[in-house]
């Protein structure tokens, strides 16, 4: 990632792979922003508000067939801090 991409990161774009989609509507259920909608007649999912996507990735996780993918999301593995003691400052070490 360079300085330029911090100023203007890649466009966020929710996508659905129609060959994998089984019309379970889980993406619609999981999305907190109504990015997806349902086309009942043709039995397929629609992406109606891509601009509203918060990149929370709930839809990706809820999809049973990995058909949903959010393009452009920055995926960093954050380190889990060590367990803290009761008083919040000293880390508890496992017994040696």
């Amino acid at each position: 990632m360079n300085e330029k991409s911090w100023v203007k990161p890649d466009a966020i774009e929710p996508t659905i792979d129609e060959t994998k989609c089984i019309f379970c509507m889980n993406c619609f259920e999981a999305c907190p922003q109504e990015v997806y909608d349902i086309d009942y007649e043709n039995k397929k999912m629609l992406i109606v508000n891509p601009n509203e996507c918060l990149v929370c990735l709930h839809c990706e996780e809820a999809c049973p067939t990995n058909a949903v993918f959010i393009k452009g999301a920055i995926r960093i593995k954050w380190k889990i801090p060590p367990r803290e003691s009761m008083w919040g400052t000293v880390a508890i070490k496992p017994p040696e």
Binding site: W6, A30, V55, I74, E84, W87
Partner: protein, 598 residues
């Protein structure tokens, strides 16, 4: 007769935010048959999963070692806290929350949460709370707790003074199911969705408030809506919370004249909490004893981070910031296109965004916005409700067999509260279910289904389209009952909502079960909106997140009171009564609110 199948359980838990999940786990320790239901996928649409992810404002933001005692923690929460609903907090509940927050938080280690104390450092950007909710959902899926996902509860089943469970329908099949339970836990969350500007998942429509109201329960304090200041109002960008990353704290909020106006609204003379402490009887004495809160002068230098600039943590002054923004817009110093003010990031170094997950979320949020050269427009948005169902210390409501926890109850506005009272509600419901038997006749159930079933048979008109009705409700609430309220505006809100009630509600239609869910949500939103507007009309003062332009002072003489809503003969009746102050007593005085009078 409708086709209703019946399920019998010991404890029914409605809702799967942190309160519902904790209640279900806790109730299972007492009884064998616990059923957890949610109107969508577990945890996904809960505000908990989108929230900051710090349970301990106490233990996360300020480490516990800074506090001298539980009393001090409780006092701080009664006085200040995130939304500064100063003076009208239920002090007994606050004391319990302060006492149990650490234990309840650390119990989460047992349910697989990697580090409940500081999820902010490793959570997925965009849904920090999922670091807590996710493992809890996994834990429940593996356990022998019964669960039904995508099951919309429509009503509680009441007979006499008892609640015998609830009735609802399956979102996929539309089939009605009545759950007969010995004890029921209501944990359905808040109603941020009643406003256009909000920071809540789309399903946060306040079903619990409306359900409780229909069942005849008492609700309180509904006028207090929590508005978070930092909601993006930039057209074309998602409307969401600009996260409190390093980048935001270095940003500057300006009006259309380029003036950093917040100093006119935030009390900067001394630390906010100290100022509140001095307002109490024996206040000076308390300031000397409370060593946990360090007094720092505000620098008012726009190059400093926010908490240095104003000498107090941002979370203490969210209400002042949102009041300031809304007042600038009210006085014509906002943006001309969208009602909003500007957040200027031009001096923020680019790498500040990548220091923590929340910063990355901010970057996602501003994806095609050139934040280096153009400020971001923002306006306060609804985050949740301070008010709700009245509970006692054990989360029992006024009806036997019904317990409530989380945002649906009053005095609860954070993950911290929801965690503590979720556990308490689970305990109480479990213990109650051990000693009672549930029996209810089927005719009561049939009456509850009929009004909703009728929606399926109606004509498909635009007037009755659930999504259109929702939009209308949101518009009325945003225009007339948002951050800055006046009597005139509130009356317009009530008239607007009445109009929707007469014209649109009888026409609501639904073809598919998912549309029926939306129709019900619209129905519930309208009633919640009405509660907010009517209670707001009653309270004649400005306090915390509640701003009345026609009564610009905080009135500790007349308004250390709580408002009540009850259903009397099909009508909404609003009353109020004085609030108990067993821990901290406020002086009888009028406190001017900075920036409300010009």
């Amino acid at each position: 007769m409708n086709d209703i199948s019946i399920v019998e359980v010991d404890v029914l838990v409605i809702g799967s935010g942190i309160a519902g999940l904790r209640a279900a786990i806790q109730a299972r320790k007492y009884v064998s048959k616990v059923l957890l239901v949610d109107k969508t996928l577990f945890g996904r649409q809960s505000l908990s999963s989108m929230s900051g992810g710090t349970i301990g404002i106490v233990t996360g933001y300020w480490s516990l070692s800074q506090w001298q005692s539980v009393d001090e923690m409780a006092a701080w929460h009664i006085l200040g806290n995130a939304f500064s609903v100063t003076g009208v907090r239920e002090q007994r509940l606050e004391y319990i929350a302060a006492k149990e927050v650490v234990v309840c938080q650390d119990e989460l280690y047992e349910y697989g949460v990697a580090n409940p104390r500081s999820t902010k450092d490793y959570a997925v950007p965009g849904r920090p709370g999922w670091a807590i909710i996710g493992p809890l959902v996994e834990y429940i899926k593996k356990s022998d707790i019964q669960k039904i996902e995508k099951f919309m509860i429509t009503d509680l089943i009441r007979k006499g003074d008892y609640i015998f469970g609830a009735i609802g329908f399956d979102i996929d099949t539309g089939k009605w199911i009545a759950v007969k339970a010995k004890a029921t836990v209501l944990a359905t969350g808040g109603a941020g969705e009643v406003y256009q500007r909000n920071n809540t998942p789309v399903r946060a429509t306040g079903d619990g408030y409306a359900m409780a109201f229909r069942a005849g329960l008492q609700l309180s304090m509904m006028e207090f809506v929590l508005f978070d200041a930092w909601i993006c109002a930039e057209p074309g960008l998602p409307q969401f919370w600009i996260p409190p990353s390093y980048a935001r704290t270095l940003g500057v909020v300006r009006n259309n004249k380029g003036d950093p106006f917040l100093k006119n609204y935030i009390p900067t003379t001394t630390n906010f909490v100290h100022k509140e402490l001095r307002n109490l009887e024996w206040g000076e004495e308390l300031v000397k004893r409370f060593k946990g809160i360090v007094e720092k002068p505000a620098t008012l230098d726009i190059n400093d981070p926010f908490h240095v600039r104003f000498g107090t943590p941002v979370i203490d002054i969210v209400d002042c910031i949102s009041r300031g923004m809304a007042m600038e817009v009210e006085r014509g110093r906002g943006d001309s296109e969208v009602p909003s003010v500007y957040l200027d990031f031009s001096k923020v170094p680019a790498e500040a965004w990548l220091k923590e997950p929340k910063g990355v979320q901010g970057l996602h949020l501003l994806r095609n916005h050139d934040w280096k050269n153009r400020p971001v427009r923002m306006f306060p948005g609804a985050l949740g409700n301070f008010g709700g169902v009245v509970i006692d210390e054990n989360c029992a409501t006024s009806l036997k067999g019904l317990y409530a926890a989380g945002e649906v109850t009053y005095d609860v506005d954070s993950l911290r509260h929801s965690n503590v009272f979720g556990v308490r509600a689970g305990d109480s419901a479990g213990m109650y279910a051990l000693k009672v038997e549930s029996k209810v006749e089927d005719d009561t159930i049939d009456n509850l289904v009929d009004p909703w079933e009728a929606m399926k048979k109606r004509e498909h008109t635009t007037d009755g389209d659930p999504r259109e009705v929702k939009k209308k409700i949101k518009k009325v609430m945003q225009d007339y009952a948002s951050v800055i309220k006046t009597e005139e505006k509130l009356r317009k809100a009530i008239i607007g909502l009445d109009k929707i009630k007469e014209e649109n509600l009888p026409k609501l239609w639904a073809q598919y079960p998912r549309q029926l869910r939306e129709a019900l949500e619209a129905w519930n939103m309208l009633h919640v909106g009405e509660m907010i507007a009517k209670c707001a009309l009653l309270r004649r003062e400005t306090r915390g997140t509640f701003n009345r332009l026609d009564y610009p002072k905080r009135d500790d003489i007349a308004w250390i009171r709580k408002s009540f809503i009850v259903l009397v003969d099909g009508d909404m009746k609003i009353t109020s009564e004085p609030l108990d102050q067993p821990l901290i007593r406020f002086k009888l005085q009028l406190v001017p609110v900075k920036g409300m009078e010009e």
